[in-house]
Assembly symmetry: D2
Homo-oligomer: 302 residues x 4
Amino acid sequence: MSILRIGKVAINVLDLAEARRHYGEFLGLTETASAPGTAYFKGWDEYDHHSVILKENDRAGLDHLAFKVRFPDDLARIESTCERFGFPVQRVSAGSRIGEGEAVATTLPTGHRIEFYQQMERVGIAVGNTNPEPWPDDRRGVGVNRFDHVLLTGEDLEGVTRFFVEGLDFHQSERLINKEGGLLASFLHVTNKAHDIAFIKGPNGKLHHVGFYVETWDDVLRAADLQSRHRVRTELTPSRHGLTRGLTTYFFDPSGNRNETYAGGTFPHYDNDVVTWTEDEAARAIFFHGREMIPSFGSALT
Amino acid sequence: MSILRIGKVAINVLDLAEARRHYGEFLGLTETASAPGTAYFKGWDEYDHHSVILKENDRAGLDHLAFKVRFPDDLARIESTCERFGFPVQRVSAGSRIGEGEAVATTLPTGHRIEFYQQMERVGIAVGNTNPEPWPDDRRGVGVNRFDHVLLTGEDLEGVTRFFVEGLDFHQSERLINKEGGLLASFLHVTNKAHDIAFIKGPNGKLHHVGFYVETWDDVLRAADLQSRHRVRTELTPSRHGLTRGLTTYFFDPSGNRNETYAGGTFPHYDNDVVTWTEDEAARAIFFHGREMIPSFGSALT
Amino acid sequence: MSILRIGKVAINVLDLAEARRHYGEFLGLTETASAPGTAYFKGWDEYDHHSVILKENDRAGLDHLAFKVRFPDDLARIESTCERFGFPVQRVSAGSRIGEGEAVATTLPTGHRIEFYQQMERVGIAVGNTNPEPWPDDRRGVGVNRFDHVLLTGEDLEGVTRFFVEGLDFHQSERLINKEGGLLASFLHVTNKAHDIAFIKGPNGKLHHVGFYVETWDDVLRAADLQSRHRVRTELTPSRHGLTRGLTTYFFDPSGNRNETYAGGTFPHYDNDVVTWTEDEAARAIFFHGREMIPSFGSALT
Amino acid sequence: MSILRIGKVAINVLDLAEARRHYGEFLGLTETASAPGTAYFKGWDEYDHHSVILKENDRAGLDHLAFKVRFPDDLARIESTCERFGFPVQRVSAGSRIGEGEAVATTLPTGHRIEFYQQMERVGIAVGNTNPEPWPDDRRGVGVNRFDHVLLTGEDLEGVTRFFVEGLDFHQSERLINKEGGLLASFLHVTNKAHDIAFIKGPNGKLHHVGFYVETWDDVLRAADLQSRHRVRTELTPSRHGLTRGLTTYFFDPSGNRNETYAGGTFPHYDNDVVTWTEDEAARAIFFHGREMIPSFGSALT
């Protein structure tokens, strides 16, 4: 099978109006469609109809996330893979959500719902495809380019890593291990980025953060300036991660879902060795500059 | 088949000692092996034994370039593909060059020799794989991270594009076309970068430039400062390409082979639309800021 | 006497409507007042009512420039100084232009009219003075912070340097000299920037360029991207000057007056030695990266 | 009188060998002279013999700091001013320290010793004065350009501000005030930088930090990366100050003296209005991104 990328995240929010302001005005995503209790967004540099769905709910957290596959019959192959791993499988009909084709859905042992789809309506990038400018005139707020990755928490990181690597042909770029070699964090990619999806040890079913790509360290500064201007609750001021080398800020949407602006980061290949971080260096692996664990990092989960 | 990336370029140079100073001291590649008339180099952020080979010769230009494949039996599949396209095929024995496994070689209709290999000795990245720093202490000169891409010239861009897209499953990210829709430039990628290999209309068999990746626009400035300090012959001062959005300088090695420092650039996917530049915007496509063709751009080929 | 800075430049433009779009929409200055054939502008980070005046005229070029002094009686002292140097002196009444207090005017031996003033109406910086944000929400276009400096041409650079240094207590930061030690360029500052005013050898009375300050090398890239987007005639793409170390683009307003975006640059003190560039390094002094004289640099004067 | 800048800081350190590694190898200052228990350093972009003196002592903290004046008779005028303010005055003979001319010394009401000098031996900037490169080849470690400013603590901020403004003709750029308008912080400049010297409310006689100038936000990242690599105790990871808009990291030398890398920042003039921060915004004034007071900020004083 052939997975193109992590293509979509659906996030539960407590108040859709507030969330719209956050993801639309502040982060600068573009709203492409809506339905009662739901809004669809894309980044300016994304082609597909949406990469973020906001769903009003009485609890924050992850509704589901989805990977886009390249060929129609990848869906059937993924179905078989899930069955081989003993995971539940379900088909989602085309049109169940705005702009989406048929999907295959499963639930990971970590309790997260993931889907796979091959069809989505097309909107196109904001700068167009003919003699385009390098960035759009009307970038708003932080002006993130695209949805980039998610970090989830779960108990069985070995199991979930095996599913992605052996079942779905992802590659592990980096990992954090304890003294016994057990996984405390597992970073997995199918594109040449440090992570399309990553997991850290923690309660099943929880969302740690949704990452959005910005281009440069200067963009990270600009994001942090805007976080301050708009009093966005901020957990991590501009910093580098040891894991992935990425440049980052962490902050929360009005419902308490953690977001990240992420720039830089490695460009890993499938024949790269896995980069290993040891537990005694965990704080430095995550907060490379501060080198101290921020307490809410492990507890503020949705 | 499964191609991991463009992995290697072998460049003919007129004077090996001078070329060593340029690629080693100035660009900051690391020499990993040598043989009479030949030197092997890698970037600090590359795992394999070498990505650049310098070969002393009485003419500058491209000796060959090579793509790394993921699985051993990819080589046989590529052999068949080449035969299907009517291209000559040749096996290169393991050990013909230092550190290299067996390769399959062919010659493109544009006259360039390309190879495919699955095995290369391993040296590892300069920062190591366990709790690594984000960059090495001993970066020298420009300190490029890695060999990134090549641009070649040739007559039949439609043919060579068909081979890469249909034969080798590359994707075309961007193109420059004339009024009749004929290709003047074709950008092809197999990783999520704007180009692993690209072609512009011109004489067969020629090398336009070898691109090396640096991380940021500040690194491009630093490169340009060093080009001036070391009186490296420079063709393009810091600028952006319209094609790929990349940030860049062009300059020449002592033998007249053009090099590029390249940062930024898009992160294309296989389902992206092709970005099209029209001939009337050609100067802007290449020199986005200056918007005038630099005469040597089309004529300084090796 | 005590001169605070170069505070104002009045520029002749051929078409006020076009010039307004250029200085207002493109550069991002704010229009603060207008009168028939005249418009007044300030940068977002400037306190005074205006720093740029556009005057419709049948020829482009400099109308006059002006230095702000600290104390009311500095004007009389400057008057005496001008008389001591044998320069013509004239008083300009308060209110002759919108927002301006009384001024002392003279004409340099290079034929440029300069004025000195102590009073100007106050508008204040765009971010306000109480708990301010670091930059305004509504930055438009390039979004320059402020008017920074001018470069003028003239024949007697020794004479004009003597007036500024001995008469007005400026300091020479850098200079370009020929083999005989004669001045080809003279950079003069009264604040801690590389130049408030500079002169290069050339015809008397001409304006070479008006420099506007932007904060970073990333801002210079952004300016160059916007110059391309808006097809602003560009002479120098992002580059460094050897003289002053400044980061820069050169481009022209619709009337042919050269503008510069300028970032970085040294922070000179009055006890600094003068930095000297020799004529054989003139191209590198001006175009540090390209190291070749751009022909229009010496000829495109207004 | 005419004060050129803050020119020198003498810091008490517990272990000179460790301090030498910190200020020399890590920060990248150049040692220009030494005597038993004392070492003299300068930044690569400074002309004078030294700007930092390290003195071995059994307590960390400030030994003294010094302002350079422009003219020899400024010293007598400052002497009178100190006497007029009722401050003790003392002459320090030329040659009391290596490379230094005669000085006038006083003690501020806040208990800090400050000196004024007009003469210091000359070493010159690392890139030289003729056709110089923009930065030196052999920058080490963080590679700070220069000593920039100090922040001191004291009780009577109104008194010390009056001395600098009325006595020494400094200008107040920014201030933090409580509800009654009392000063909690006072930023004072004599050059066009946001602060040559600043004070915050706190115990008399203490040093809060010594600031070193780096050029860009990318340099701040590089500094933070090196702080992590060399396990330098870090208090503030890359951030912006609201006060001055400066970009910054805080960290400690091995004796516990706080250092800052500082880039950006405003370019204030003597006719600028004072920027005022109110106590309820104090955390944001200092830590613009984190918007929470870091406890050690007020307590880690030497």
